[in-house]
Symmetry: C2
Subunit: 395 residues, 2 copies
């Protein structure tokens, strides 16, 4: 991968021109020269390179000011495609999108992540090829491959790090495996970060600071700040599930501590609590079904889970001052009881300035959030100025 | 203020050239053309504009490759000066720095912020002029003025917002007042954000994600992410003091809630607690003096305060994954008892991945952190590419 030497500003080459055109508005060479301050000849050369790569195309003629009317050029989102995979604990979703995040084809399967990286990634590759065939595209037309995993991921290397529910994946070179057998670049992130990206891209693009909370078997959080994932120093940011809840003492957590939010308020914690009361519940989905069928203990537990999550989120609202909190994951599908609990505590506990314009909403993208986010991750990387220079030079 | 239309990339004009030269290394016109990809003629034109403004100067000759040896150019940090003010509840500090943050002259006074904005800002202006005279510079040579205030500030407008200890300041147009009587641009932020900037700039520049915690009469936090202040949606990020402490119930806080960290662990909370035990203590500074004289109840209270702060920070560490936490403010001056309490709880409570490389340290800049940070705020703004274009065009 060719990148400019660190510390130097981006050369305003083809990539910067493309960034301007990504808003979808066609422009003439003169307009591009005016907006960049570059010489007409430089712009012409870079427009030619982008035309040759197919990333832009002619988009009709502008009004003439005398003489031959000038041609306008526009971004062509269908020039390349993106393969996006959302791999959960027990399912896999795969989508092929264009460079505007529009889904061209998709598929889904029950697939246990614990069958290990080769089995799961081979499924991604096999069905990736099938989706490409289905829409008549070739692997060479891929901008890249995005993969979400249900565990901690070192984003810079694409490797899972001590993932609790993914035997065989620890340290496995996911990008290397897929690039050797299929196509690259391959970007990997954890499921919550890509869901946060997907929800933000598809529904809440106006929010400068978003927190996406996934409440399912476990509890996690993805933070979007100024359009990108906030990762922190080691990529560990957003670990909401293992923050201590004040009254959580005594609940042992799978992380080794006690009283973690996940040990008190997750789908599995609620199921265990209901089972203790003699109600048949083993999983997060059992809780959702009980809630849907009107089980009062389940509804009460969901509400309390929301309050516990709100308790922990209230502190994060004071620290991070988000503009929107999006509650997703399977437990959010069980009606508004969880959301109501979250709202109740946050509006009571957080500072007026931090909650003044704060929206707390349910996720809107359902099961598609992950694949859309995985695609967005690839698009933002693949269309960054540095990568576009690689694309137009045939890299 | 001239800014490029939103959504367009920065024109690589004089500002981008200067950004390259800010590393201090002299470069020839050819080297600048090579690193930017710009035409030699364009570089020559922009170098001339920067030379005329004084922001860069000739820095000797490069080795010749035959013919006349080419001139190199370097950033001239002394071309402009910065006036930086750190206004506390009962004191004011003022410094004049160059554009590398080096202090050229400084002064300090006991000044009550409650005497109101005109009195306090007139002091800044009067003594700002004196400092300029002292080093033989004129107001016209200022890059700008930076001001830190001991209360919440709307950074975009420079106005204080409902500041609890600053009667008469609410909504007061600080930049307007100073620009009309002295010089601009004037940037304003709260004291904790500028202290965070100052500590980061002067001592911890290698840390990508820093949290600065000020423990004094109150408790606040400034967050530095990728070199800049993390503000959140409404600029309210970092409000650590009003997060609830698990065992804090019953302690009323000045914010109207009960159990806030500030109501339990701040200097005034500790002083009140010691006073209840019959020990003569009214202020945070009394607590510091008691601790220095070896008072066991004071040391015990400081340690417990550290634990309480650690309790709240542990959650923030999981969410934000900082690389360093810097503990400052007057209570941090009372030895390592506070710091020890903070460390004890964070290393026990936070996740291994988040604490693996986490450093928890005492602030190093003492009372100077604020003025250095206020200067850095002005330098980063004033030398941004957009502002440099204003400077070189004589704006």
């Amino acid at each position: 991968m060719r990148v400019p030497p660190s510390g130097t500003p981006t050369v305003p080459g083809a990539g910067t021109l493309l960034r301007i055109l990504r808003d979808g508005r066609p422009r003439t060479r003169s307009e591009l020269a005016a907006v960049t301050g570059l010489a007409r000849s430089t712009v012409a050369q870079r427009v030619d390179a982008l035309l040759a790569s197919g990333l832009i195309g002619p988009a009709g003629e502008a009004a003439s000011t005398g003489g031959r009317p000038p041609t306008t050029f526009a971004f062509m989102p269908s020039a390349r495609v993106v393969l996006a995979a959302d791999l959960g604990a027990t399912y896999a979703r795969l989508a092929l999108t264009d460079m505007a995040g529009y889904v061209l084809a998709e598929t889904r399967a029950d697939l246990d992540i614990a069958t290990g990286p080769e089995t799961v990634l081979d499924w991604v590759i096999t069905h990736g090829r099938k989706l490409l065939e289905q829409v008549g595209r070739s692997p060479g037309e891929l901008l890249g491959v995005g993969i979400g995993l249900p565990g901690p991921v070192e984003h810079s290397t694409g490797r899972a790090v001590n993932p609790p529910i993914m035997p065989g994946w620890d340290g496995f070179d996911v990008p290397g495996y897929v690039e050797a057998r299929f196509f690259g670049p391959v970007l990997v992130d954890n499921d919550v970060n890509i869901m946060a990206l997907g929800e933000h891209f598809a529904r809440w693009g106006d929010a400068s600071h978003l927190m996406f909370v996934k409440v399912a078997t476990g509890i996690g959080c993805g933070i979007i700040s100024d359009g990108g994932v906030y990762r922190g120093a080691k990529g560990a940011a957003g670990d909401l599930g293992h923050i201590q809840v004040p009254h959580g003492t005594g609940h042992p957590c799978r992380c080794g501590n006690t009283g973690c939010l996940e040990a008190v308020a997750s789908g599995s914690a609620i199921a265990a609590e209901l089972a203790e009361q003699g109600i048949a519940a083993r999983t997060a989905l059992d809780v959702v079904e009980l809630a849907r069928s009107g089980s009062v203990p389940a509804l009460r537990s969901l509400r309390q889970s929301g309050r516990d999550i709100g308790e922990v989120l209230a502190a994060s609202v004071n620290m991070l001052n988000p503009s929107i909190i999006v509650i997703g994951g399977s437990l959010a599908l069980a009606g508004d009881h969880l959301l109501a609990g979250v709202r109740e505590v946050i509006y009571q506990r957080s500072l007026p300035l931090a909650t003044e314009d704060l929206r707390i909403v349910s996720a809107q993208m359902g099961e598609r959030a992950g694949v859309i986010g995985a695609a967005v991750m690839v698009i933002e990387y693949g269309l960054s100025p540095e990568r576009v220079e690689v694309l137009v030079s045939g890299g």
